[in-house]
């Protein structure tokens, strides 16, 4: 079996990369360890509507609902509202991630990519030190897939990175460990995504309620792994649901666990190898959102891979165009938001309450983490600002320089 490109993982990053590499003329194989693309869903299923302009995903079947805004609740339940109406722009969708992923896979296949299910990568094929493809287990059969470029789209738990000499191991303080119910018969009808903050509610993270249609919502939790104990995410989520009157008569139709990197991105390019999506830690460290980066980064990766195949140059040097371009697109944002995440971890519940109080009547002109962070910065207590400056001087300087 010989391909130009083998992509390990059929999530959004893998499929979008496969599509654009195929459209550029590369012969692409995507392998997926699971039996169905997008299943089980491992996601809160929220995405920004800026994807509309990108035209990467077709149709509307993947949309569960259009959101009118977001509400953020501080530990004492003071509410900060970000509404689309006020800001005069679009907010986001809640999606059906299984359908979303399958639509992206369909586009990749239409462009010429081949997908192989039930196929688990077990190692990288190397000749001397040169990467030559991947070894995999397809059902019970051991197979070898020769390829000029190996793409690690194998998620937060990426092994391709480790095998290819990129250290992707996460510090527990850089991982959100998550659990989520899809609840039905819930008393939630407006199209707002709700976020609940607080050390007792979700240490180092938040609880979310994302409506997925009438009386259905994803209710989930993410907590920082460094602050977690065995089974704590599920327990805190169960406690929250038990106390929330809107969920008194609800019942789950889905329960999932998840893991989200909230880290600085890793190096993503080696000779004959790149990392994309969660494997590359392309996730906003404040929100834990990564879908937009998967689409944006996947398109860049696919275009660069197609060029490499045409030029027959698979060196780190040639492939580094991918890293340069994703850094331009969203690398700086991730770095900045990582710093903000670190600052937020130092803040206590009292500070969050004070901030929420200062912001509760603010009309936001931009619905994004950037817009929110800008407002928060204005209202931070001087002592918090000073602490941040002292503790993170080096990182702040580095970000300001660029």
């Amino acid at each position: 079996m010989k391909y130009d490109v083998v992509i390990v993982g059929s999530g959004p990053a893998g499929s979008v990369t496969a599509r654009f590499a195929s459209e550029g003329g590369a012969k692409v194989l995507v392998i997926e360890r699971r039996a169905e693309v997008g299943v089980p869903v491992l996601c809160g299923e929220g995405i920004s509507r800026k994807i509309d302009a990108w035209k990467i995903i077709e149709g509307k079947r993947w949309i569960a609902g259009k959101m009118d805004g977001a509400r953020i609740y501080s530990p004492d339940k003071t509410c900060v509202t970000l509404s689309a109406e006020q800001a005069g722009n679009e907010t986001g969708y809640v999606v059906y991630r299984d359908i979303f992923d399958q639509e992206l896979a369909r586009s990749a296949i239409k462009a010429g990519a081949t997908f192989m299910m039930n196929t688990q990568a077990t190692g990288i094929i190397k000749d001397a030190d040169k990467i030559k493809g991947v070894r995999a287990k397809r059902f019970d059969e051991e197979i070898e897939i020769q390829a000029d470029i190996v793409v690690g789209a194998d998620g937060v738990e990426s092994k391709i990175g480790q095998w290819g000499g990129i250290n992707t191991r996460l510090d527990p303080k850089d991982l959100e460990t998550c659990a989520q119910y899809t609840l039905t018969n819930i008393d939630v009808n407006d199209a707002y995504c709700d976020f609940y903050l607080g050390k007792e509610i979700a240490p180092g993270g938040y609880i979310w309620v994302f409506p997925k249609g009438k009386n259905v919502a994803n209710v989930g939790i993410g907590i920082l792994a460094s602050l977690s104990e065995a089974g704590m995410a599920k327990k805190l989520l169960d406690d929250f649901i038990a106390k929330d009157p809107r969920m008194k008569n609800s019942s789950p139709i889905r329960f999932i666990a998840g893991a989200v990197p909230v880290a600085n991105p890793v190096e993503t390019v080696r000779n004959n190898l790149i990392l994309i999506g969660d494997a590359a830690r392309h996730v906003d460290p404040i929100t834990g959102g990564g879908l937009t980066h998967c689409l944006e980064g996947g398109k860049i990766a696919g275009e660069v891979l197609a060029k490499a195949v045409k030029a027959k140059d698979f060196s780190q040097d040639f492939l580094s165009e991918y890293e340069t371009r994703w850094k331009e697109a969203f690398g700086q944002k991730i770095k900045r938001n990582y710093l903000v995440k670190e600052l937020m971890l130092d803040m206590d519940d009292k500070t969050f309450n004070k901030l929420a109080n200062a912001l509760k009547d603010v009309k936001f002109d931009e619905i994004s983490t950037h817009g929110l962070v800008k407002e928060v910065a204005k209202h931070l207590p001087i002592s918090t600002k000073l602490n941040a400056l002292i503790k993170h001087r080096k990182e702040i300087k580095e970000i300001k320089k660029k």
Binding site: V156, K159, L170, L175, T177, S228, A230, K234, A257, A259
Partner: protein, 63 residues
């Protein structure tokens, strides 16, 4: 008696991959789409046990 090694209850594991991503020894892998610990590599640090959102990993002293 040796130190307790991490052990995944495969009936409880929901295959989120969190334990694999934080293991400092790269001792956890997908086997049949569930996490499985290679006890020879496990150094009993318990990071995976604390990370698991559903409490599917526990320490077990191997005979």
């Amino acid at each position: 008696m040796g130190k307790p090694k991490a052990n995944v209850d495969k009936k409880k594991c929901l295959a989120c991959g969190g334990c694999i991503s934080v293991c400092p020894q790269d001792a956890i892998s997908w086997i049949g789409n569930k996490a499985e610990v290679n006890s020879e590599k496990c150094i009993s640090c318990a990071i995976c046990i604390r990370t698991c959102p559903v409490g599917a990993i526990s320490g077990e002293v191997l005979a």
